[in-house]
């Protein structure tokens, strides 16, 4: 297998993996497998998929550092974009289905509750990263592009905070994500300088 083939296989695996949760949701939607509270069910599933893909995207760089398998870096962009996609569906369910575009209610629900405000901030950060993820923007922003895209870590932190703030005290689910994110941040920063010096690229 040559490099091009391997890269194509890798990115096909990422696309398929990232689309499977969507396929499952559509199947469950069509066959009515969503339990008594479908709005909540699909809100939770899209949220969980968005945060999982975001953390996977953030895991690429540390994984390369551990394994030396550089092609993984190519997955950061699609995984990040899919995370944004699921977050957008998550947000649309909230605005369009749960609150049925009732903007007075939405304004109150979004701006008065800290978990929603943080979710919205996460979403906006992901949107900026998604829009500027193209080659054109990369060229236009030059050096600043890399700085801007470090915000992916901020998005990860914000998403975990959103999760922590929306569950009842004592519910552990978000803390698993917090632990993974903490590991990723640790894996990244102490070596950042060393690595930049060693490889001169990123």
């Amino acid at each position: 297998m040559n490099h091009a083939q391997r890269n194509r296989l890798l990115s096909a695996a990422a696309h398929i993996g990232a689309l499977l949760p969507l396929a499952r949701m559509l199947f469950d939607l069509v066959t009515a497998r969503y339990g008594p509270d479908p709005i909540r069910e699909f809100t939770l599933r899209t949220g969980r998929t968005a945060i999982t893909l975001l953390l996977l995207s953030l895991a690429c760089t540390p994984a390369v550092r551990l394994s030396g398998f550089k092609p993984l870096l190519r997955l950061r962009r699609p995984l990040g974009l899919y995370s944004f996609f699921y977050a957008a569906v998550h947000f649309l369910i909230f605005v369009g289905v749960d609150y049925a575009f009732d903007f007075a209610l939405i304004r109150a629900a979004l701006l008065e509750k800290r978990y929603a405000l943080v979710g919205l901030t996460t979403f906006l950060v992901l949107a900026v990263l998604a829009v500027t993820s193209t080659r054109g923007w990369k060229r236009r922003l030059g050096k600043n592009w890399k700085r801007l895209h470090r915000l992916a870590y901020a998005a990860g932190v914000l998403a975990v905070v959103h999760f922590i703030w929306l569950v009842k005290p004592g519910v552990m689910r978000p803390w698993y994500y917090a632990a993974v994110l903490g590991g990723l941040l640790l894996a990244r920063f102490p070596f950042a300088k060393q690595r930049a010096r060693a490889s001169g690229d990123e």
Partner: protein
């Protein structure tokens, strides 16, 4: 009057049970006087069949005209952290949980402490009460409970004059309840409390069934509290102990997050939970949201209990 399309003509069974329902409301207004004409639906149990296989209820709607939730919804969407924090897994994890034999010890500041068996509970006259249940997570259901007013049981044990509160305790069974083992940081057993006048209120019931059948374990079998004007977590499940006490009891949720969960926990669209807005709710089975009613729609019956209290402070 508008013409009624044939599709809206009520089937006979529904019509008959609705008549029974209206009749019972009439009887109630005349008899008890507590419940106004628009008070909560109350139906004699003769219209339902506790031993029956099919879930059945004496009416199809609550007194506001909103349809009952289905038996399937009510029995498969449960907040019961002793089994699981996942509402949709509680039913399977609780399946077969032994709820007979069972005892409830009623004691504390009473003249006649008594341990009730299930047979003792069956001696109370069972009524159907169609109540809205509003969860603090901002979803709600309409549920046809079977049960009896708590004040009837309290009258038997005769609270002493010093008794100011009622403290309830759920069964604590870590061996059979995986949620207790997985979430050891909560102060198990589950504890809830009511002020004595709240406990004595006509709307406060001990429920033993729903939809004409005995309660299933996931709904708090064999006997649970139902306080319809308070958030669902006040309606403690699978009770083993009831104590009359002088001091305000600390509930499990008050201990877990005192800034989020107060003792009163009255449904109130104007007082937000720090996590969730309480202005609206999602009725299970409906898409979208509906406004939350003050005291969950029981304002006329219960507002007087809180006269002069600041409900923002006493949340």
């Amino acid at each position: 009057m508008r013409d009624i399309p044939s599709s809206e003509i009520t089937p006979e069974a529904v019509y008959l049970s609705r008549r029974a329902f209206l009749k019972s409301m009439g009887i109630l207004t005349a008899g008890a006087g507590v419940l106004a004409a628009c008070g909560p639906a109350l139906v004699p149990t003769s219209t339902s069949d506790p031993s029956g296989e099919q879930p059945s209820a004496g009416a199809t709607t609550d007194e506001l005209g909103d349809p009952l939730n289905t038996y399937d919804e009510i029995t498969h969407y449960n907040n019961y952290y002793e089994f699981s924090t996942d509402k949709q897994r509680v039913a399977e994890l609780a399946e077969g949980y032994p709820t007979s034999p069972w005892e409830i010890q009623v004691g504390g500041l009473v003249h006649n402490p008594k341990t009730y068996s299930l047979d003792d509970l069956r001696k109370f006259e069972i009524e159907e009460r169609i109540y809205r249940l509003r969860c603090v997570e901002a979803w709600s259901m309409v549920i046809p409970w079977l049960g009896f007013p708590l004040h009837k049981l309290l009258a038997e044990v005769e609270p002493k004059a010093e008794a100011k509160y009622v403290r309830f305790e759920s069964v604590y069974d870590p061996e059979r309840m995986p949620g207790i083992r997985q979430n050891p940081w909560y102060s198990w057993p589950y504890v809830e409390g009511l002020r004595l006048d709240e406990a004595m209120h006509e709307l406060t019931i001990l429920a033993t069934g729903l939809y004409g059948k005995d309660l299933l374990p996931q709904n708090g079998a064999p006997v649970r509290l139902v306080v319809p004007w308070k958030y669902g977590f006040k309606s403690i499940k699978s009770i083993v102990k009831i104590d009359l006490v002088a001091e305000m009891p600390t509930s499990l949720w008050m201990a877990a997050a005192p800034n989020e969960y107060g003792f009163y926990a009255n449904v109130n669209p104007e007082v937000d939970h720090p996590r969730w807005s309480q202005a609206t709710e999602r009725r299970i089975g409906e898409l979208g949201r509906r406004p939350t009613l003050m005291f969950n729609g029981y304002e006329a019956e219960v507002a007087h209990l809180y006269a002069g209290m600041d409900l923002r402070v006493n949340f």
